[in-house]
């Protein structure tokens, strides 16, 4: 039955994460943006509270932020819970949310493709007292949206592989305890040559060369990673040799990378929705408080706010639809692309409308201008606006046998 109301568990998660976002995240958002980092003591505090960007959440098992071991599920609703929680967290502050300890985007590939031993080894570290991070390294200077064109190489040697190459734009990449790194065993094989490795911090030949300065999400670390004759043991090949030999002619490594997106794009879309909602709610209150109750300005504001609310709601529902499909085990690649495309664009538009309503006063150390800077990347990372259109169009044309 079609329904747009939250289950008790979804509602409970929403309230819990909202409480955290409001009382713990939002108060440090502007200061963290100014400093360009999230204070260590804050990270330690929330880690002790048991709050993290949880790996299993991204593969549909758990909520992304708050561990809840006593959960009993009748119907799988992890993806829905994850998008609900992601929206609330990003409502607090997207940069702080992405900096929360946990496996982050590295979680899904480990969860979906790792051997039981690898899952245990790499995911168990997040139960420790001190904050730990995981990361996901796909993008390269010459291969961003075209993930099939990666050039980082993995040369087979006795007992493992030797990685050489460079990765850029890696969220939490310098502080991560391990990074899922995509490399190719033979560029001439195309996608079939792709392999995914877990590279641990401190591995010789693996360095974080620098962190980049960005328009927004300034409190969140974005790093460049360099691999110079970096030896990675066979045990760190995600899924082990069997995964690849069983699918000798199939692009498994590439699929690991792409499959990740089906579960993470709705999360990213949900975060964009949360950011837009934060800007909208703030601006709504300002208009209520400061604007004259009648006249041109008032009606213009009413129209813009209603437009914002409508766009936010549509993007949220599309996100829920993608998450719902994942939960019921149906392919959701198109829905994931659609919600990401719609939400990214929508959120920038809504933040811009809010800035317009606030006027020049919105420039001065203001939450909304920060959200505007933060939100732009949601239209870029996890696949740009253009990539999402490509993914969508490809699926729409597939029944006609036309590959666009």
């Amino acid at each position: 039955m079609i329904s747009f109301t939250l289950s008790p568990q979804q509602k409970q998660m929403k309230e819990l994460v909202h409480w955290f976002a409001k009382h713990e995240v939002r108060p440090i958002a502007l200061e963290a943006d100014r400093l360009g980092r999230v204070p260590d003591e804050w990270l330690e505090k929330v880690n002790k509270m048991g709050i993290q960007l949880n790996a299993s959440s991204f593969s549909g098992g758990r909520a992304p932020s708050v561990s809840d071991k006593k959960k009993e599920k009748k119907e799988r609703e992890g993806n829905r819970i994850a998008v609900i929680a992601a929206e609330e967290l990003a409502w607090g502050c997207p940069a702080v949310a992405l900096s929360l300890p946990g496996p982050g985007l590295g979680g899904p590939p480990v969860q979906s493709s790792g051997t039981p031993e690898q899952k245990q080894r790499f995911l168990s570290i997040f139960t420790k007292d001190e904050p730990r991070w995981g990361a996901y390294a796909l993008t390269e200077p010459e291969a961003g949206s075209d993930a099939s064109g990666i050039r980082t190489t993995a040369r087979k040697v006795d007992g493992g592989y030797v990685l050489n190459g460079q990765k850029i734009f890696i969220t939490n990449g310098a502080r991560a305890s391990w990074v899922v790194v995509f490399a190719t065993i033979d560029p001439s094989l195309g996608r079939a040559g792709h392999r995914a490795f877990v590279v641990e911090k401190g591995t010789p030949g693996f360095t974080a060369t620098r962190t980049v300065q960005k328009m927004g999400l300034r409190a969140n670390e974005t790093a460049e990673l360099l691999f110079e004759d970096c030896f990675v043991p066979d045990d760190n090949l995600l899924g082990g040799e069997e995964l690849y030999s069983a699918n000798a002619n199939r692009p498994s490594g590439f699929q690991v990378a792409m499959k990740t997106f089906d579960s993470t794009r709705p999360i990213v879309a949900a975060m964009a929705v949360g950011i837009a909602r934060a800007a909208y709610e703030y601006t709504l209150e300002v208009v209520k408080r400061e604007y004259p109750r009648q006249g041109r300005l008032y009606y213009e504001a009413a129209e813009l706010l209603a437009e914002a609310e409508q766009e936010i709601e549509a993007a949220r529902l599309l996100t829920w639809e993608a998450a719902w499909k994942a939960d019921i085990g149906e392919p959701n690649a198109m829905e994931a692309a659609i919600c990401k495309a719609v939400a990214g664009k929508m959120a920038l538009h809504v933040c811009a409308m809010c800035l317009e309503l606030l006027g020049p006063a919105g420039l001065d150390g203001h939450l909304v201008e920060k959200l505007y800077r933060d939100v732009k990347v949601f239209d870029i990372f996890e696949g740009t606006q253009q990539i999402q259109r490509l993914v969508t169009a490809r699926r729409l044309y597939a029944p006609y046998g036309v590959h666009v």
């Binding site: 079609i2 747009f4 939250l6 709601e313 729409l396 666009v404």
Partner: protein, 380 residues
Amino acid sequence: MISFQPTEEEQAFFQVARSLAVEKIRPAARECEKRRTVSADLIARVNELGLSALELPELWGGLELPLLSQAIIWQGLSYGDLGVIQGLPGAGEASSLFRLSSEHRAWHRYREIAKGGQWPTVAWVDEAEQKEPLKQPIRVRRRGSGYVVDGVSSPVRLASKADWVVIAARDEEETVLLALDERVWEIEEGDIRLGLLASGIARLRFAEVYAGPEQLVARGPEADAWLNRVRARNQVIEAAKEVGLMEAALDYTIEYTAGRKAFGQEIAKFQGVSFTIAEMAFACRGAKCLVWQAASAVDRGDEQADGFAWRALACAHRSLRYVTDQAVQMLGGHGYVQEYPVEKWMRDAEAQVMLYGRERDWLIRRGEQLLSERKERVAP
């Protein structure tokens, strides 16, 4: 629990509606438009399937379906052709009022006539609000225990076919809801060329028409309360029809661009085309979600249901204009000529949007509702 899964019954209804749309409605659309009426066999088929009684009260032999189920069915039907759908005779927008006031004495005669299985056609004239700047409101004055109606309505659908007219208007003090029959009005067909030409759009002229007390359905707060509920239901239904039309335009355009070749390849392979197709799909799906959500809010009796309906209709209006315009654009010159359906769909879309309220008005109204809400203040 969040779910986008229609019930089995809804899926079955949808299949029936879609099949009818594709097999019967669409092939007949041009001819219906040319004749400015829906063909009798099509009407008979729709009635036979019970599709004209989706909203009508059970007490009257109607199906009285949840609004969400209706939204899905109307979406399926309008996939065929909106011009035909809007021209289907019967109770039309008055169905919602009948549903809410099914035992009212004003309908006794209507029900008597309807017992033969044919629902007399009703034109719905809602002039209780002065929103459109070009509208000359119908005047209603009290006389004795009844009312006198005077003036010319805006163009409304089913007007030229109407056996009954339900009027919502304001007298000097309050809203009045009247049910008129026996053709006490004149039809002004006018020179309507834009779209929905099979739907009987016309103006209705009332020259000092007297409506006795038995024709008064409600007045004052009672009339306002009914009207608000009727409008929300109708807005959702109209928005659902719009989704059906935009889905038709999208699917047709996908198929066309997948087959049409230029510069040595299918034009779908040009990103100027494929990206537009993706955008059209985004618009369709977003609008559909908001319509389903509004329908479900009305069914639940959510106190914000009217606001949800406004935003769903505003979104559907915008998406419909965008998608049908782009459909014409993607077909190029073929889009503009009448051998292909998309030019008609674009015209129908624009006429539909004109009939069912300006997007901007719905947004402003929703905005005012949002601004009057009390909510916790968010710290900067």
